[in-house]
């Protein structure tokens, strides 16, 4: 029944429009709302616009290897001539679609990932998906996603990291992963291709480390929001393009530091961000922080710092040693709250606060991300002991929560400003 004449969008068109609307909103904010913009950020703004507003595919003709969590080694994927696509998802639209398949109180990130699989709507559709058994929800989501007709390979991940046994266990899993992928790709892992891949990713990491160095300065040359965007781009961008753009950015930042061009003011509190990962376009809390005249100088999240922080440390460049070193990077360096004990994470946060001369910590957990929610207790206690102000927030992907959250963030930032002034 109808008397109207316009074409109606298909479900995928509608989903694309919703995603474009979410994406453009954030990109406009990044482009327009902050002082002294960085010219070389335009590459990244444009990249996200092409992928999420114009729905361009970046990897046509290449084999896309979907990864469900940070622990799947990109080094092995690149060595075997695949493109890693990290499927952790930050779109509210996909979260809503995924809600039909997940418990109501589930984590929005997992719901969004499931939602995207349910829709089957990808700009770069993964040809094969590897899912490390990290948190409960991601582990179980694999089966749900399989029910939509995808093949998911589980990669066993241990939940303790202190013991030698868990290290052995994980090394076996990584080898198994390499065997599966090698079979799928019809390509052998060699000393040469693995070494090249390790060095390439190592170089990308070194660029991130340079950016981090700049953020230690009194005059912070780059927004935390922009850094999140750069690191999120590593989820899916062509690695050579990413490296080239980031090299340019590093040069520009170097000049900015020299010329004391800063995105923050003199009293702007310096923040270390930790907790559930900000994934494009869900930058809700970082955005509130930086719109309230504070500056994120470092983070401890799996969508940003944790991807780049630890390097693969190889003793001998033979294939077995390289494989073990890769495995260790993804287990030993990981500070995810899924582990039984997690003193590493507390140590890292305190270390970040000291190195980056931060005034306080903002800890955000997705409502439904039980492990981050649970760990706030021990982290808050440890920060209190160390005399570091910390704000704990729960949030989700819904766009309508802004008001209450911003009041709390603003009050926290004001208190940090007062402390800063009193110190001087």
């Amino acid at each position: 029944m109808s008397n109207t004449s316009h074409e109606i969008e298909s479900p995928n068109e509608k989903q694309n429009r919703h995603k474009a609307m979410e994406a453009v909103k954030l990109l406009n904010t990044l482009r327009e709302d902050f002082k002294s913009p960085i010219l070389s950020m335009e590459y990244f703004y444009d990249l996200f616009e092409r992928v999420y507003c114009k729905h361009e595919s970046l990897h046509e003709g290449k084999t896309k290897i979907g990864t469900m969590c940070i622990q799947i080694p990109s080094e092995i994927i690149y060595a075997l001539d695949g493109v890693p696509i990290r499927l952790c998802n930050g779109f509210y639209t996909d979260d809503e679609i995924g809600s039909d398949f997940m418990p109501q109180k589930a984590c929005p990130l997992v719901k969004a990932t499931v939602g995207q699989f349910a829709s089957g709507n990808f700009t770069d559709k993964p040809d094969i998906v590897f899912s490390p058994t990290t948190c409960d929800q991601k582990t179980k989501a694999g089966a749900t996603i399989e029910s939509f007709g995808y093949k998911i390979y589980d990669v066993d991940f241990p939940r303790t990291k202190e013991s030698e046994a868990s290290r052995e266990y994980w090394r076996r899993s990584v080898k198994q992963f390499a065997v599966e992928l090698s079979k799928f790709q019809g390509k052998k892992l060699t000393k040469t291709n693995l070494e090249q891949a390790i060095k390439k990713i190592g170089y990308a990491q070194s660029l991130y480390h340079k950016i981090s160095e700049f953020r230690k300065h009194e005059f912070v040359p780059i927004l935390g929001l922009d850094v999140f965007l750069i690191t999120n781009a590593f989820f899916f961008d062509k690695i050579n393009n990413w490296i080239e753009a980031t090299e340019k950015l590093v040069n520009e930042l170097e000049q900015r530091v020299r010329n004391k061009i800063s995105v923050s003011g003199k009293v702007s509190p310096r923040i270390v961000y930790t907790g559930s990962p900000p994934i494009f376009p869900n930058y809700k809390i970082p955005q509130i922080i930086e719109e309230s005249d504070a500056i994120i100088v470092a983070d401890e999240t799996c969508s940003s710092n944790r991807m780049f922080n630890d390097m693969v440390a190889v003793d001998e460049w033979n294939i077995y040693d390289m494989m073990d070193s890769i495995s260790d990077k993804y287990l030993k360096g990981c500070t995810c709250p899924i582990f039984t004990k997690n003193d590493d994470r507390i140590r890292r946060i305190i270390q970040l606060v000291k190195t980056y001369k931060a005034d306080g910590v903002v800890y955000q957990a997705f409502a439904g991300c039980t492990v981050y929610e649970m760990e706030q207790r021990s982290v808050l206690e440890a920060m209190e002991k160390a005399g570091i102000p910390i704000l704990y927030l729960e949030s989700d992907y819904s766009p309508s929560q802004g008001g209450q959250l911003s009041t709390r963030v603003e009050a926290f930032i004001e208190s940090l400003k007062t402390r800063r002034r009193n110190k001087k």
Binding site: M1, S2, N3, T4, H6, I8, E9, P11, K14, R17, A20, M21, E22, A23, V24, K25, N28, E32, C53, P399, S400, G402
Partner: protein
Amino acid sequence: MKYFAGIDIGSTAIKISIVDGKKNLLGSRISASGSMFYKYAQETLDALIGELNLNKNDILYIVATGYGRKLYKEANENISEITANAIGARAAASEFGEIKTIINIGGQDSKAISLDSDGNVVNFAMNDRCAAGTGKFLDVVALKLEIDVETLGESHFKSTGTPLSVSSTCAVFAESEIIGLLGNNHSIEDIICGVHYSIAKRIVKLVKRVGVKEGIYFDGGPALNMGLVHAIENEIGQRIFVPSNPQITTSFGAAIMAVDSYNYENS
């Protein structure tokens, strides 16, 4: 001759319909509510009677509805706009098929009404006391963009970029968001398109509360805005029916009710 009137006194406009004993619509008239509901309603009714060459005494029964219905003391009866809307929509769309759901966007509220197969109201949802997603909201937007509210629909289809969503659901805050977008030189068309989608999303949430079914009827002043119609169709994923004169559905329903009440009282 026997004639019957339905008077719908809304926050923004007064709508009056007159039907004959067989419930055929003879004519209707719309005027602004202004400050004196009663006086303007009276004037509008007189004007419509004159226009149709009727005699005032031929109007045997009047049913009032809408926010201001209790202010119209001459009415023989008054009923809620939800009941009147349901009756009017079923009658107005009879040639198209069965109406299961009504979306009504008025000047100061919006509603979703769910009907059973006999046309009885089984459920309804309203956003009350808030201008978000109402005609008032569109007025505010048009005022800020310095264009006529009637041209919003045309502009919608001229949008070529990504619609720029307005996340504030409050008309007051949305206004400042729009000022921000204009300040950064974004296309007015993309802003309008985004506003329509923002309203459409709210409306679809409202419809979901009563259940989305096939056979959706959309009325109220904002239904004249084809851009908004398009946005709602996209958000809800199906075509909706918009009557040729979407503002008078509720008064038409009240007039039909007048016939039934008169017949019942005189049987």
